[in-house]
Amino acid sequence: MGFIPWATSPSSTFEKSLYDLIRGLRNHKGNEREYLQNCLKECRSEVRSQDLDLKATALLKLIYLEMFGHDMSWAAFNVLEVMASPKYHQKRVGYLGAIQSFRTDTEVLMLATNLLKKDLTAASTTTIALPIVTLPHVITPSLALSVLPDLLPRLSHTHPAVRKKTIVTLYRLALVYPETLRAAWPKIKERLMDKAEDPSVTAAIVNVICELGWRRPHDFLPLAPRLFELLVDSGNNWMAIKLIKLFATLTPLEPRLARKLLPPLTEIIRTTPAMSLLYECINGIIQGGILGSGDDADGREEIATLCVNKLRSMIMIDGDANLKYVALLAFNKIVITHPWLVAQQEDVILECIDSTDISIRIKALDLVQGMVDNDNLVSIVSRLMRQLKLASSRDRRVAPNPSGAGPSPGDSDEDDFEGTISPAQGTADQAPPLPDDYKTDVINRILDMCSQNNYGFLDDFEWYIDILSQLVRTAPLPRQINDTETSPPPGKYRIGDISEKIGNEVRNIAVKVQAIRSACVQAAEEIATQLNRDTAGGHSIVSGAMSPVAWVIGEFASELSAPEDSLGLLLRLISRISSPEPLAACLQAAMKVFSLVAGDQLASWTAERKSKILLLMARIVHTCEPLALHPNLEVQERAVEFAELLKLTAEAASGQETSTDTLHQDPPLLLTQAMPLLFAGWELHSVALGAQKNVPLPDGLDLDEPINPNLNYLLSSADSIPIPADEEDEFETYYNQRPPPTSIVSEPAINRLADGRNEVAGSYQQPIEETYLDADILAKRKAERSEKNRDDPFYIGEPSSIHRSSTPIHNILQNSNGPDLDVDSIPIMELDLNRLSADVNKSPAQASKRTKPKPRQKIVIAADENLGNSGQSTPRNYDSENNSDSNAAKARARKLKQSFLAVDSTNIGALNLEGDPDSGAYDPETQQREEAEMARAVKEVERLRLEMQRANERIQVAQGVDAAGTVVVRKKAKKPSKAMVAGDGDQNEAAAEADVVKPAKKKKKKVAPIDDGDGDGGAASAESQGVVKPKKKKKAKPAEIQETA
């Protein structure tokens, strides 16, 4: 029986075979879409015909079109019909349709159960294989439960092809229905132990165990001897690779295994001609922790060197990029446990960062991130910066279509796939344009590397600020909003967020590093100017860096060189920003700057000043007023508030007489007192992420208890009570005046920074700054340096630009900060509730700590403030993602579940496999779970029965007529109308009952040793010795069903 689709041609000449369809598509160039719609329409009617041949052909065509994205879920019921065909070649089409189009929520799946069970017990091996191969694609817990009894015996089928497929399918069943393993594992194990077993079957078992192995390694330790034997004797490289992977997960549990494994692995490494096996051996040694320290130090040392050297040579080999890639993969694993071994390979790894191949670059980046320290940070970041700079300059040169989007394969256009054989497009010799995702990734990593460990690896903050300014320019622009709507998966970073992250870094530096604050504020201003200039007229500024940068300008307005110019800049920006968040930030910043400009208390109120300020206010009001109708509440509120406040102030100011030569007039109080008070207060410090949680709960705090039992009375009489004036003052002091510093902690924030010996500057054998910084940033840098060095007696002029990058960092810093910067004079307040009320005296311990500052400590990076016991862990807390509390872990787990293509195997880890069966029975949790499962299963069975009922009626009533058959089934099935169920369909009921009874038996069996037959004897014996309680429950439930039925 051939299965040539066009050979089993349909009776009518008007119907198309798959062959006709494909040919037709190719002959209808230009109007494929129309042709395709016609074909789909034809298929739609053909697939509903009575003629199975026609049906199957139509289905095949639909499967073909599904490949191009034409949904065929509507045909699920027809798929089922074809699956049920007695002819193999039709059945096969049906099963293929099921594989390609069924999803777990396909309701027809319920109806397929009986068919699957029947085909599993068919006589022909090819027919048996169909449901076995299909099940992994459609499996649900309830389906697993009902199919398991028919699938299990296939493990001992005479044909090895059936056995190996069954093993894998059982594994997929176990993923959704872990109880499968309890029944299947003994049999699988038996197969594995059988030395006469077909090698393919053994290999399949090893593959499955390898998949299960990392989920529950303990269960497979007892198999180690047999697996070891297979590794040494089999001579099958495929299997050896898997075995080594498996052993890598076992050795951490059983250290003795490592000793046993080492000789054969070393042997393989030395002798095997297969690169894949060699690689996996090395990988296995790394992952299995065999490299780790142990008793036989010499041997381990030797093997470690062997492995690392092999990997190194893999990277060095020219011409095989694959080896490079996998070696980097392996290094990525080593770096977790043995960073020093990888650090030795820094040279070759850094080479890979500049590879033309993005895959290799990314892997190298992963590695590099783990290797960063004080010495190499600058050189690594410089490399990355140069890459970004080159890429962006190339983007500018090339036409504005860098994405290289090929023809969209979503269209099912069947065009010439034969004529053009050379698909190689683009310039092969040149590096491909960097995709935005990659750029974002690189920028992310640069920021992470620099900010790591609370900026612990960073020596030169001015350099970092320059890097940040440069990054804002290189950062890819955020995508349009409607574009993100079409992409449902919530990414870790939207593209737009990256510039915001850069902006946040600028802000962090400004807040944390006082010594560099003024430079930082300047940089922020420059970034804002740049954004304003670079965004073409008529377009709004979209960079996410805008709002943190604006905040910095506003908050540290006193550091601005020309506040009035900055104010003008902010006002210009406000009119060009459309997104609410930066808009609000700019509004706020503008007000802060204005209050600084206008609020000078000492300067006299001259006519000149009056008119200038009135003008300024008019300008701000003019900018704010259009925003009073802004759809975003935050923006609207700020705009309205500021506009009104300024109008009020303007009134006051215009009414205020100006001072003359003879008469001194004070500026209006509203301007000098009220307005600055809005923004002045305590200085802001960075607070650790979890600090809020550490605020201790006061003893005896009861939120339900009324604070004052006489509240109602007090409220009613509140109007008449005069508030004493001094109380108000206390309030004032508390909120608006800086308290005396309670404790000054000069936490040796970064002791490492103080280590002055390593004069790292200058001598990096790496690209000088010209290669990655823009010209203007460079010029600024140069000017700054010469300015600084002017007063330095040890600095000999400015001979040429060659010396530029060799200025010792400490000189730069020393000069910028003045020769004798007293670290302790920088007050860093500790937010400590316990001490707020206590006396000002420092504890002796702290005092002594303070008296010994490192001699060359120049920069203080304020640590995140924290409370109580977690105070020591501040640097770690800084990185929010490391926050390993349970909520975060759960969230991450949830996130993992959502990821595409991933198999959710969380259930299977909980199942106890090898352990004492009794212990499982006593475990109340397991019991509960089993009961719940049973209940669920029973429900499913009932639903299934109802649905079969419905479907039967459907088929009889509406066959070939009702176009929307499946839909009707779905709707009706949801109503559990008992009366109708009782009506007809006795066979179905019987089948459903069988479904329930069989799994129940299986459950009992797991207690008793499994005997091969499906006989009742096993079950009976199990009953006598088994656990009574759960079993009773299980029995009771089927009985209930029978009653209700």
């Binding site: 051939g2 299965f3 040539i4 689709p5 050979a7 040919r23 994205g69 034409h70 949904d71 193999y88 096969r92 089409v93 594989i99 069924f102 191969v133 992994p136 694609h137 894998v168 399918t169 393919s200 290999a203 399949a204 593959n207 499955v208 989920r215 495929w238 690779i241 898997k242 001609p273 690169m275 894949s276 996996e280 990029a321 694959n322 490079k324 890639y325 996998v326 191949d357 290799i360 994405s403 290289g404 090929g406 969209s408 394969p409 796939f417 034969e418 054989i421 050379s422 698909p423 092969a428 010799d429 040149q430 995702d437 998966p489 870790k492 993992l896 959502q898 293509l901 991933a902 198999v903």
Partner: protein, 188 residues
């Protein structure tokens, strides 16, 4: 495990799609086009592993390489034969180099089934393409790597059709899909 096997041609038209975990048709299509974009931008001499396409990178834990999760697809392997790209998406439990071999075995078995296979054969016989694949991989787990067993397994299901006689051999993919060339790991 293996999460998906895809075959498409130089224009990005799919010739085989097989997902071992369920995925909406529209997302399948997006994934295919994302991978195609990646694959068609590879420079010559680049390695046969792709960076994760945005769709997978976004949903997985792409940045924390220090915390690999074995359930999440983390490896996209591809090989190019004449006009076709063969792609395997897999988790970290698969060996990258072995996957390259696996693709090779698949193509070789197709070559044996069709005798000097070309893209046309695959278009008109995509059912056989599926049959051969399911002799090698079931539910995302490799069950067979032996060429002869795969071929005989497919043949046991019925005769394999030849390409239709009146169909030209199109852009002959001379020497089949041109296998065996640069990538044959010795002693596989």
């Amino acid at each position: 495990m293996i999460n998906a096997v895809l075959v498409f041609n130089g224009q990005g038209q799919p010739r085989l799609t097989k997902f071992y975990t369920q995925l909406d048709t529209s997302i399948q299509q997006r994934l295919i086009s994302e991978i195609f974009t990646l694959v068609s931008n590879r420079p010559s001499g680049a390695c046969n592993f792709l960076p994760l396409p945005p769709l997978l990178a976004a949903s997985g834990t792409s940045h924390s390489s220090s915390e690999p999760h074995n359930d999440v697809p983390s490896l996209v392997t591809y090989r190019n034969y004449a006009t076709l790209y063969f792609i395997v998406i897999s988790t970290s439990t698969e060996s990258p180099l072995a996957l390259l071999d696996l693709i090779q075995v698949y193509v070789e078995s197709l070559d044996k089934l069709f005798e000097n296979v070309c893209e046309l054969d695959l278009i008109f016989n995509f059912e056989t393409l599926h049959a051969a694949l399911s002799e090698m991989i079931v539910g995302g787990v490799v069950i067979e790597t032996n060429l002869d067993r795969i071929v005989s397994g497919v043949k046991a299901q019925g005769t394999v059709a030849k390409r239709p006689v009146n169909e030209s051999r199109g852009g002959t993919l001379g020497g089949g899909l041109g296998m065996g060339g640069t990538f044959a790991w010795p002693g596989r």
